[in-house]
Symmetry: C2
Subunit: 416 residues, 2 copies
Amino acid sequence: MGAAKTVAGQSTEMPEIAEALGRMEALLRAVGTEPLALDEAVGRVCAGTLAARLDAPPFAVAAMDGYALRWADADGPLRCRGVARAGDPVGAPVLPGTCRRIFTGAPVPPGADTVVVQELAEVAGEQVRILAGAEARRHIRPAGSNLRAGDPVVQPGIRLTARHVGLIAAAGHGEVVVHRRPRVAILSTGNELSDRFAADRATQILDTNRPTLKALVRAWGGVPLDLGIVPDEPGALSATLARALGAGDVDLLVSSGGASVGEFDYVGPSLTALGFEPAFRKVRMRPGKATLFGRIDGLPVLGLPGNAVAALVSALIFLRPALSLLAGAGRAALPEEQAVLATPLPATGPRTTILRGHLGRGANGGPTFAALADQDNAMLSGLAAADALALRPADAPPARTGEPVAIVRFDRAPGF
Amino acid sequence: MGAAKTVAGQSTEMPEIAEALGRMEALLRAVGTEPLALDEAVGRVCAGTLAARLDAPPFAVAAMDGYALRWADADGPLRCRGVARAGDPVGAPVLPGTCRRIFTGAPVPPGADTVVVQELAEVAGEQVRILAGAEARRHIRPAGSNLRAGDPVVQPGIRLTARHVGLIAAAGHGEVVVHRRPRVAILSTGNELSDRFAADRATQILDTNRPTLKALVRAWGGVPLDLGIVPDEPGALSATLARALGAGDVDLLVSSGGASVGEFDYVGPSLTALGFEPAFRKVRMRPGKATLFGRIDGLPVLGLPGNAVAALVSALIFLRPALSLLAGAGRAALPEEQAVLATPLPATGPRTTILRGHLGRGANGGPTFAALADQDNAMLSGLAAADALALRPADAPPARTGEPVAIVRFDRAPGF
């Protein structure tokens, strides 16, 4: 759709977000696997099928507190013989003319085909009489009713939760094979950047992108590898990239530029010299235009803008789904939902426009979105205080309070 | 409210969920603190206030590409002298009658008080003429407009995200003091339980609660300590509890029973012998009635039902907020929202009733809830396949398709 609506060539040079995501996703493959203890596997992505090794429950159990009996005997008075409790071994058979006191979860003794709930039993000493309303074959959980030996319990591509862990344990497995955490090498470019606050250098520019991107990689299931700040010399970037490629254990390289102008003009030749095959070199979005993706010798490379706000926004849109694909979890759609504008917004211009704002609650209980007054891309403090982004299409007219708008709540992308 | 509506004494003996949560929360305190590198701190809870150590930006920078000039000179033609790019040091002053080519993010040179965007400048060789529409003092981000030295950037109790990490880095800090991960000791009780599948023991009952609870503790930010399966002998439980208490580094003890009947009758005397001070011994909910909370010698103890489904449901309601309080993040409300019933439901009986089900999308775009046909508490497979719980009040009449119902989506409690 993007291609059809834009001038020929533009969609190739500066694709819409959806088109750029599609090109990126086509080039990413799930990383390798490792076995893990069950409780360490939550959040990881299952890489194989596991089948139950036993029936659960292993024998028929009572589903209610009451009396286990042969239904054929239910008309006459029964002698109550013995008690079956949860955790007991399967007991002796119930003989004709008898019944057994039984509690929820207890093994149903051989011979018994029915559990009658205690409310429908009249008890006098050892004698039990079954009242009207009792039904044949009720209140027994058959062996294997939770799981049957051979039943599949998890499939590849599932992101494991504690509920899966319980089911895998019930199926007789103590570990599970999952995709390992993707390893993401991270670098910043820019001569002006420094890594450490020095009280005597009041005008230093601190690199915020590496700590931020390392934090996002961890939060989204990867392992960050810090390549440091690379000076603005093509030779330096090439050397760092070559080192990352040579290490051979990197699944994705993420760079962010040190300047908001001319970034690609600088990074581009270094990448080209290394044989970079671009999927896209910019994206029709604001902020975040200076986002690129491609491969060098098979290694996926995501280039983010140098500006801190633009880098974060672009990471939410591109890095999060990249990590999901590398981790084996498939495509991770941006968690968009609808809200109602609590403030008017200006027309958008030629790119998808992404705004920071605060959420509220509308008259009908649904979310409202109030854009921050200051949408300056340098305002990391504003982004840190915001709750959500709004995404507005290119060339949209001004929007009034009360109009619908697509939003992404930050709490729907934990860690962001 | 619970107290007023129920028989006197009942609310003390078997409180409603909200009352039980309140009693638990009153007894939990945040654990100690540790310093962490910024990128390792995502998801952890800030334990102090951090203030900016420098202005950001450290000097005034251009907010647009254009020309930096003295507004007093804007009427006449200007000679363009030099270029300022992002990352450049602050340059020489702009002399009267001159301007400087400047790009977004570049330091505004001394003397200049205005940046005129390039679209409002007519350039002929070195000569620049400012067009109508340019405005005084525009397009300059003053020093400290993002952060001012001394500004607080994070407060105690904030759960840190990557956006906070960026802001803390911009403020000149390389680490942050956070609450350490709460240490949670976990045990199961029950003679019938085994830990490891044995192909020659077809009727074994595997302990699913310990792997599940360890997984939940990890997912919800704690460190699990496995105390194993404790046999059904009061001496054994006392010995294990004494060992856990003696270790001194446990923040919360979580037990789950091995049987669904008579659990407290068994665990109770062991706890009492150890000086257990109960906050509650059961909860007016179904499943999950057999949940208890209190302290032994100051150590918080949460007892969960032995049944796997009941233990998971009770963990969502009690363990999740307990970990939030221990981690310093304050109260974590159950993330309840409204849905519409896609299936009718029966009347509920004397306890808050919690049902497993699948989510769908209703005609108006909101969520619908279809209860699983089998609500048997033994059906871990059903819980694993479900998307949400519905919570219905005690003594509610049957509900029809289309009626509203309170739900908790599992994806709102990641890891569950």
